[in-house]
């Protein structure tokens, strides 16, 4: 920042506003000349790949098929050769037809900008087809066409890699014009101001890309999971009656969803019975009763509970909850508990959900304005009355959101159930919580743990994605629901 002062002074004295610096527009080459250059490049690439194959033949002898490695070696040679003239803002092909790389202010783009641009471009046009479609040359030309369409429809004729690296492909640079506009005393001053503008634009673009990553991930999740789930439903072996067959035995083509849903319902119900009262109690205590000193003890305790990994709680369920609590107290009621039971796993999941309920509900209750409490006290209400009949109803939407989030987590919780509920590869229909059972997530984990042996054997592997799609939809609905509740609640205050 300190060196920019030299640039600021002359800019301020200039009759032209500095905004003019940004007004350079590239003279983008016609799409036809770009396509020509790309076609030349593509043909050269094929020539290089063939040459590599020929050299390979003479060096290593006829070693069989035309391998993937040829495309990669060609790619590396291409990248080096095309990068030869980066510093001069032109590629070898570009130097024949006056194509320059400019930054957003119209000056020759910096070395790293061009390097970024070319690597991104090669990645999209060469590496991606090689990786994704292994040597399918047709797909490569499809990608070329896609890139051409994008270039055609962007305002300055900029390709995705140009947007990423902040470069323009142009037929003329803007050095002379910009210098005249800004009346900067020495070239270094001008460079500084222009660099700052270009840097600013580049930063913005990179952040946008990072922001789009989440959308990209969502699309990937939805696309992958639902397309594989569709393969499950569309498979020849699949019939809808399989979904109501007796028990969940994917290797024997029995996919009874009721078995899994009953298990999931039990786990979720037990978890909420454990986490609801305790979590809400802790939340009310923290927001209404606890003095600051007590808070500094209770808060970290809740955070400790939140940071315990779910595998550890799974182990805790079979090492403590089942033998020391359920077996001991179950005997009093004449119920015989084994090490693995839905109840044990449900309590484990409940312990995991306590911090979720506690922290979201506490936030909701603390957001209730103090005036409400003061008005209640002013009317002579006691503390318990204020907490229960004023603060609690006012924060009700936030509290129900907390419970919904906890339900969604309990449905999606895997490891505790996988370890403690006792369902392995298959499970019969079981509606008794003192017996072992299977949930959606645990069934997925069992399928996933044997992925290697499952892959390619019938539709058991695809059923993994089918369950994933079900789980995704269920939790998505719950999350959207709780989100809507929280939003409404924010609008009130």
């Amino acid at each position: 920042m300190s060196d920019t002062s030299t640039a600021q002074a002359p800019e301020a004295a200039s009759p032209e506003p500095p905004a003019k610096l940004r007004s350079w527009t590239p003279t983008t080459p016609a799409l036809r000349s770009r396509a020509l250059a790309t076609a030349v490049e593509g043909i050269l690439y094929l020539v290089i790949v063939m040459a590599v194959a020929v050299v390979e033949y003479f060096v290593a002898g006829p070693i069989g098929d035309f391998g993937l490695s040829n495309w990669w070696i060609g790619f590396v040679i291409m990248a080096i050769w095309q990068g030869w003239h980066w510093a001069g803002a032109q590629t070898p092909i570009g130097s024949y037809i006056d194509h320059y790389f400019a930054d957003s202010a119209g000056a020759p783009a910096c070395f790293w900008c061009i390097a970024t641009r070319q690597l991104t471009r090669f990645g999209f046009l060469y590496a991606l087809p090689i990786l994704a479609f292994s040597t399918n040359i047709v797909m490569m030309f499809v990608l070329f066409a896609v890139a051409g369409l994008i270039i055609h429809f962007t305002p300055d004729g900029r390709a995705p890699w140009d947007l990423f690296a902040g470069t323009h492909l142009t037929e003329s640079l803007a050095i002379e014009r910009s210098v005249a506009l800004a009346e900067i005393t020495k070239p270094a001053d001008f460079r500084l101001g222009r660099q700052r503008v270009a840097e600013n634009n580049r930063a913005r673009r990179i952040m946008l890309l990072a922001g789009l990553s989440s959308v990209f991930i969502s699309v990937l999740i939805v696309w992958n999971i639902f397309s594989e789930a569709w393969e499950f439903v569309a498979a020849d072996e699949f019939e809808w009656s399989l979904l109501t067959d007796i028990g969940w035995f994917p290797r024997r083509n029995k996919f009874d969803l009721a078995t899994l849903f009953v298990g999931t319902l039990w786990i979720t119900g037990i978890a909420i019975l454990v986490a609801g009262p305790i979590g809400l109690g802790v939340a009310i205590y923290l927001s209404e009763y606890a003095r600051p000193k007590v808070r500094t003890i209770v808060k970290p305790m809740i955070e400790t509970l939140a940071s315990i990994p779910s595998v550890v709680l799974g182990f805790f369920a079979i090492a403590f909850i089942s033998p020391d609590i359920l077996k001991r107290f179950g005997g009093l009621f004449g119920i015989d508990f084994g090490i693995f039971s839905l109840l044990s796993a449900g309590i484990g999941v409940g312990i995991l959900s306590v911090p979720i309920v506690a922290s979201i509900a506490e936030d909701a209750m603390r957001a209730v304005p103090r005036e409400l409490r003061e008005a209640s006290y002013g009317l002579g209400a006691r503390k318990a009355t204020t907490a229960l009949r004023v603060v609690f109803p006012a924060a009700l939407s936030g509290i129900s959101a907390a419970l919904i989030v906890a339900i969604s987590r309990a449905i999606g919780e895997t490891m505790v159930v996988f370890i403690a509920a006792g369902g392995s590869g298959g499970a019969i229909f079981e509606s008794n919580p003192s017996e072992p059972g299977q949930t959606i997530t645990a069934a997925m984990a069992s399928l996933g743990a044997g992925t290697d042996s499952v892959a390619g054997s019938g539709i058991a592997f695809q059923s993994l994605y089918f369950l994933g799609a079900l789980l995704f939809i269920m939790t998505l609905i719950l999350n959207v629901f709780s989100d809507a509740i929280v939003r409404r609640f924010r609008q009130v205050y």
């Binding site: 920042m1 920019t4 600021q8 503008v197 600013n200 913005r204 952040m207 890309l209 922001g211 990553s213 989440s214 959308v215 991930i217 969502s218 992958n224 999971i225 109690g281 802790v282 205590y285 209770v298 305790m301 809740i302 955070e303 400790t304 509970l305 940071s307 315990i308 990994p309 779910s310 595998v311 550890v312 709680l313 799974g314 182990f315 079979i318 090492a319 306590v354 006691r382 318990a384 009355t385 229960l388 999606g412 919780e413 895997t414 490891m415 996988f418 370890i419 997530t441 997925m444 984990a445 996933g448 743990a449 992925t451 993994l464 994605y465 994933g468 789980l471 995704f472 959207v480 989100d483």
Partner: protein, 315 residues
Amino acid sequence: MTALSPDRPGKTRLPLTLESLKRQRSKDGFGQVFQGLLLFSVAIAFAMVATVLITVLIDSSEVLRGQFWDFLTNKSSSDPAKAGVAQGIRGSLIIAGIVTLVAFPVGIGAAIYLEEYAADTPLTRLIEVTVRNLAGVPSIVYGLLGLAVFVQGLGGITGGSSVISAGLTLAILVLPIIIITASESIRAIPSSLREGAYGLGATQWEVIRTQVLPAAMPGILTGAVLSIARALGEAAPLLVIGAAAFYSTGFQGQLDQMQGAFTALPMNVATFAKLPADVWAGHAAAASVVVLVLVFSINLVAIIARARLTKKLGR
């Protein structure tokens, strides 16, 4: 409850002195029962934490006392006397490294875009909604994503079920968490700070780089480091990706090891816990202790780093 209860103001007898009010309060039976219930629930929560930690410590004592060093440095084995978690520790550390390299820059960049650059357009709202929903997607679904994209789709680079695939999957898993926490701490920066820098002629990027980011750094780093702790405790996605229960590393180069079979600490816990408890319970508990020590020390690092950065900024 007395006739003087403020809940029934009609029967209140004046004068209502401070002393009489105090006396009443001590007789507020319902209030005391309610407070007792609240304290009881806090006590149960305390008991949960304590019982989990104590159970794990007691069960692990035999293994950790008898073969502490062997347990940490040995590879997986079917012999209880030789089995250790060295491969799990290695896998977890590499996963943490990959998560740091991938999820930190992307997550913080996305947060900067959402808070500093983005106008209220449909695109921005789409990004915000997807981030919030991604944060609620169960971790095992991310495992499916990793299986489809990194293990099968990009198997040429990652080597299939490898520690690279696991690291990338967990990076995607924690990305929404990093974005949300970083957005929150950037939002908390007062706009006067930005306006002052703009007033001095800084570009937007300079404002972000020199003012907003340093001021928001304590919050951003805490969220990011905590998300690493979360990634280290996740086992479900690794199970789907295909973390190995037992494997042997022969004579392999570093790259081959990165692309080869892998496991991680939570996977070790799950594997031991799934084996017959009479022989392996101690190992499961000991591996749990190692995970807990790792996770808690990362949390501690986050707390200390936050305190130091906040102090350094003089806020």
